[in-house]
Symmetry: D2
Subunit: 331 residues, 4 copies
C-alpha cells in the first residue's frame, strides 16, 4: 500500500479513540517477555473501526507506553496498522526519555505505515518552553512524513503546556492536533495557533467545544470507546446533528447520561490524584466494561487503593449500560 500524504489539520475530525495495550494473564510478572495479547489488539482496532471511530491512538498513559518494551511496541504497531488497512488513521505512542529514542521509534512507525504519533515530552527532567518546543521541532524535522498529536498531560510530563508553547509548536507543520486535558484555554490556544492545530478535548467536553466553535471544533479524543464504541459514536453524531439543526436537546441528553457515569472514575482529589493511578484505574474501568480485555497491569504500576478501583469499575459498568441503551435505541 503506497504511503498516503501526511495528514493535515483538515483531516482531524470525529472520534479519536485511544486503546489500552491488552495484556496476557501473567503480564504483572517481570518474567513475562511478551506481555501483549495481539489478538485482542486486532479485535479492538477492528471493532472500533467497524464501530465507527475516526482514528485510533495508542501507547499513551493508560496505553502503557511507559511499561511495554520496544520489541512489544513494534509488534503492536504492526498489528494496529495491518488491522486498520488504511481504513482509519493510526497514531502510535513514541514518548521516550529523550529526543533521539523518540525519533528512532517514530521512524520505525513511519516505515511500517503508521500515520502519526501521540507524543509527550521526555519527563526525567522538566522542560522549559524553549526546550519543549525544540523537542517537537527536532522530531518533526527528523521524521517529516509523520503527523504529530501533542500529548499535553501536565502530570505525566511535568510541564504546564502554557500559551507560549502553543505559539511555538504551531510553527511546525507536522503538529496538527493535541490530546488535550480540558477546554479551559481552548479558544486562546486555538487563536495563538492560528487554527493550525485542532485540539482534541475529551469526549465529555466535545459538546461544549462544538458549542464554542462548531465549525472548527469537530474532533475529540475518546478514552471510553474501548468500553464500547456505541456511546462515543452517539456523542459524536448527536453533536454533529445539533450543529446542523441548531437543536441541542438530544446532544445534551446524551451528555447528561454520560458525564455522571464517568465521574466515578475520578478520586476525590481530582485530576492530580487520578494521575497517580491513571493506568490502574483506566484498565480496571475497561475490564469492567467488558467490551475488550485490557487484562492486568504491567510492572511497576500494579496496585491502587481499593476504593479508587471500585469507582473505576462502576464507571466501566455504567458505560457498558449506556452502550446497551444506545443499541436498544433508548438513548
Amino acid at each position: 500500500m503506497p504511503r498516503r500524504d501526511r495528514l493535515t489539520v483538515n483531516d482531524v475530525h470525529g472520534a479519536w479513540a485511544i486503546i489500552p495495550t491488552p495484556a496476557v494473564d501473567n503480564a504483572e510478572d517481570w518474567r513475562c517477555e511478551d506481555s501483549i495479547d495481539y489478538d485482542e489488539v486486532a479485535k479492538a482496532v477492528d471493532g472500533l473501526i467497524v464501530g465507527g471511530v475516526d482514528a485510533i491512538m495508542a501507547q499513551g498513559t493508560f496505553g502503557e507506553g511507559a511499561t511495554i518494551t520496544w520489541e512489544e511496541k513494534k509488534k503492536m504497531m504492526s498489528v494496529m496498522v495491518e488491522t486498520a488497512r488504511g481504513r482509519k488513521p493510526i497514531f502510535v505512542g513514541v514518548t521516550t526519555l529523550n529526543t533521539r529514542d523518540t525519533i528512532k521509534q517514530l521512524k520505525h512507525a513511519r516505515d511500517i505505515g503508521a500515520d502519526g504519533t501521540m507524543l509527550g515530552l521526555p519527563m526525567w527532567q522538566v522542560c522549559d518552553v524553549p526546550n519543549a518546543v525544540r523537542f517537537y521541532r527536532d522530531v518533526a524535522e527528523a521524521v517529516p512524513e509523520m503527523a504529530i498529536c501533542v500529548y499535553a498531560n501536565p502530570e505525566a510530563f511535568k510541564f504546564q503546556f502554557p500559551t507560549p508553547f502553543w505559539a511555538g509548536v504551531a510553527e511546525i507543520p507536522q503538529v496538527i492536533t493535541c490530546k488535550y486535558i480540558h477546554i479551559g484555554q481552548l479558544s486562546i490556544h486555538t487563536a495563538v495557533t492560528k487554527k493550525r492545530i485542532r485540539f482534541l478535548p475529551i469526549e465529555f467536553d466535545h459538546l461544549d467545544a462544538a458549542r464554542i466553535d462548531p465549525e472548527f471544533h469537530t474532533a475529540f479524543w475518546s478514552p471510553c470507546a474501548n468500553g464500547g464504541p456505541e456511546m462515543t459514536i452517539r456523542i459524536r453524531d448527536t453533536v454533529k446533528e445539533a450543529v446542523k439543526t441548531g437543536d441541542w436537546s438530544t446532544a445534551l441528553r446524551v451528555w447528561g447520561a454520560a458525564a455522571p457515569v464517568m465521574g466515578h472514575l475520578m478520586p476525590p482529589g481530582g485530576f492530580p490524584e487520578f494521575s497517580r493511578y491513571n493506568i490502574q484505574l483506566d484498565k480496571a474501568r475497561i475490564n469492567a466494561s467488558g467490551w475488550m480485555k485490557a487484562g492486568p497491569c504491567r510492572p511497576p504500576y500494579l496496585t491502587a487503593p481499593a476504593n479508587y478501583l471500585e469507582g473505576a469499575v462502576k464507571a466501566g459498568k455504567g458505560w457498558a449500560e449506556l452502550c446497551a441503551k444506545v443499541r436498544a435505541g433508548e438513548l
Copy 2:
C-alpha cells in the same frame, strides 16, 4: 435604606468587576497606618457603576485582602457600600485564616449593608473536601443574610476545588456564584450544582461560556474593568447581542482584540508562576492603564521580576488603548 432580600442565583448577570484596594504613596512602608486611598475607592466604585458594570467585588488577591488591616477593610467596605447606594451589588472579601474570623467580618459586612462576599478558604493548612464544604456551610449558617461567591483560586488556597466540593456547596442556599479560574469543567460543575451556582468565568472566557449555554452563562468576573470599564462593557454587550441575533462576528472581533493584550500579563510559566506575583503584576497593570490609581503594593508582597512587570505594564497600556477605541467607536 432597608436591607434588600438576599441575592439569588437569578440576580447574577453581566459584568462583575473586581477592584484593587487603592494605596497611598507610602503604603509599602510598615509604618503606614491607614494605607487606603478612600477617595480613589469611591471614585472607582462610582466610575464602574456609571460605566455600566453589574456588580463590584473587592479584597480578593490583587485586592490585597491579605495585606490590609481589619480597620482599613471596614472603612473601605463602608465607602464601597455608601458609594454604591444600592445601585449595584457589593461583594466584599472576608477570607481569613479561619471560620470564626471570617464570620465576624461577614457579620460586619452585613451590618453595613454589603450584599455578599467573595470568599476563599483558610490557607495555612490544606483543606480536604469535607472540611472545605463545612467551612462554607458554617459561614452561611452564621450569616444567612449574605450571598456567597466562592473564590476558587487553587494556588492561593491550596485546594483543587474538585467536583465533589461543588456538589457539596450547591446544597448551601447562600452560595450563588463563584469566581472561577477557567472554564475547563464549567459544564460538569454546572450540572452537579444543578444550576444553583452561576459560575463567573473571567471576562476573556465569557464569550465561550455564552456559546456553551447562552441562557445560563450570562455573567462573568472582570479583572480589567479597573483599567477602564468600556472594554468590559463592550465584551458583555457584544456577547448579549450575539446571543440575541445569532451573529457572533462582532463579539468574536472584540474578543480577538482583547485576548492578546491581556496575554502580556502572564509569565512564560503560566498561571502557577503568575500566582507567585499576582498582586504586584495586577497592580502594575492597573496603574499602567491609568483609569484609576491602584498605587504601590503593601508589605510583604512588594517586588517582582522586572520582565514580569514589563509584561504587566504592556497589558495595562494595551487595555487603555482598547477602551479608547471603544469610546471612539472603532471596536
Copy 3:
C-alpha cells in the same frame, strides 16, 4: 516586672517545647466565642517549666495560630506570660496574612511581657527571597525589643527557605533561632548565618545535631513534651551527658526508644501528606498521651482520615509509655 534584655543566640539552649492551644468542648462549633481552656494553658505552661523545659513556644501550626481569634490569642499570651513569671522565655505566634498585622500583634506581645515570637511568613501569596527577608526585617525594625524564631515550615508558608534567605535574615539581630524541619542543611545554614542563628532541630534530630557540633547545637524544639515532658528532658540530658563524657550509648538508647514511637504519627506519604492534617493529627496525639487536654480542633480544620488518626493515637500513647518508663527509671 521590668523587661529583661532581648534574648540573644546565646540564650537559646535546651528543650524548646511547643504547646497546643487547649480547646473547650464545643470548640468545633463556630458559635463558640471563647474556645480556649485557659486553665489548661496555665497548667501546661507551669507543668512544662516545672518539668524542666527551657522555653515555651505557642500558636504555631498545631498550636492553631491559624484558627484562634485575636481576642483569644491575647488572653492566652497573657496567661502564658503570667504563668511563666519570667522563669523561662515565652515565644508567641504572631503569623498573620501580612506584615502590619504581625507587627500589631507583636507589639502587644512585647507590651505584655513575652520574650519573642515564633514567626512564619504570610501565605496567601508565595514570597520570593527578597520579599521574605524584607518581611522579617520590617518586623524586627518595628518591634526591636522582641527576639524572633523563624518558623521554617515549607508546606504551611509556601516557601522553601533556601540558603540565600538564611544569609539575608542573619543580618537581622532579632533573628536568633529557627524552628527547623530537619537537619538536611543544618551545617550550611549555620555557616551562612555565621552562628548568629541557633537552629532548633526537632527533638528526634537533637542527638544528631549534637554529634555534628556539640558546642553549637545545644537546643531543639519539642513537639512531644506536651505529651509528657519527662522523655523530652531525658533526650536533652542524655545528649548533654554524652557530650560531656563522650559516651553516646545512653543517648542512643533513648533515641532508639523514641524514634519508632513517633514514626506512627507520619502517614505513608511523608511530610507533605502529614502537613495536610498536621493540626488534627497532633491534637489527636496529644489527647491520647493524656498529659494535657488539647481538646477538639477548631474550624475549619476538623476531620482527618481514620487511619491517619489511629497512627496519631498510637504515637501519643507510646510517648506516654516512654514517659512512664523514664519516671520508673527504666529508660
Copy 4:
C-alpha cells in the same frame, strides 16, 4: 576475569564519584548517532581511580541516563568496566520507564562485568510505596548478582522516598546503598533499614554524617570529583583522619572551603529549581572546572537561564582552584 561476589553493605566505603557522559561536539543535534566521547570516558574513569576514588557511578541525572541511547549506554558501560579492570566497583545507571526494560539493561550490565546499578524509579506515573518497593524487589529477583544503589531523587522520580519505603527495600539483600539527597532523615532511615543500607550523602554532608556515626557513615557520593578528584579525596581523608584522632579542625577547614564554592551551583529557588536544569548546570560546572570534557548537552535538555549557568561556571572554576590548592599543599 571471574565475576567477583556481589558487593555487600560492607564494601561501601569512601568516595563514590559520579561521572557525566562526555559528549562529542555535535551532541546537541538529533542527527548525532553516537554522541559519546568514549576516550574521555576512559580517561575520566582511569583518572578518578588513579586519583583515589573508591567507586564510580554513571548514567544518573547529570550523567544523562535519560538522553543517551541504549546502544551508546552499552558501549559506555563496557568502556567503564574495561578501564576499571576490577580496580574499583562500577555502578551503571539502568533507570528506564519500566521494570522489564530496567531488568534487560541490568542483565547486560551484569554480563559485561559491572558491579551494580544506581537505580531510580520509573517516572511516567507516580509510584506509591507498595509499587515502589515491588519495583526494587522485582529487579533484584531478576538479576540477583548485581548490587543496587537506590537513586533517591524526589524531583526526578516523583517520589518522596518516605520511611516505609526504606523499611521495605531493606528486606532486599541486593539493596546495599543509596544516592541520597541530604541527611535530613539519615538516622531514622539508617535505623529502619537496620544498617543493611549504607546511605551515601553528598560529599558536602560527609563530614556531618561522619560526626553523627563515624563507624557506620564511612561513604559518600561525589558530584564534584569529575571537576578534579583531589578535593574529594581531601574531604574523604581529612574526615577519616578526624575520626581517628578526634581532631576535626582540618576536616572542618576543608569543608569550609568547599561549601561556599558549590553554593554557586544552586539557583535562588533551591533544589526544586535546580532540578529543572540539573543536567545543563552540572555539565556547565564540569566543563568550567577543566578536569574533564563533559561536552555539550543532549536533546531535549539543552538550554538554561544565563544567570543560572553563570553560577554553575563559578562553581566549576572554584572547585578547580580548590584542587590546585590541595595539590599545592595549601588546603
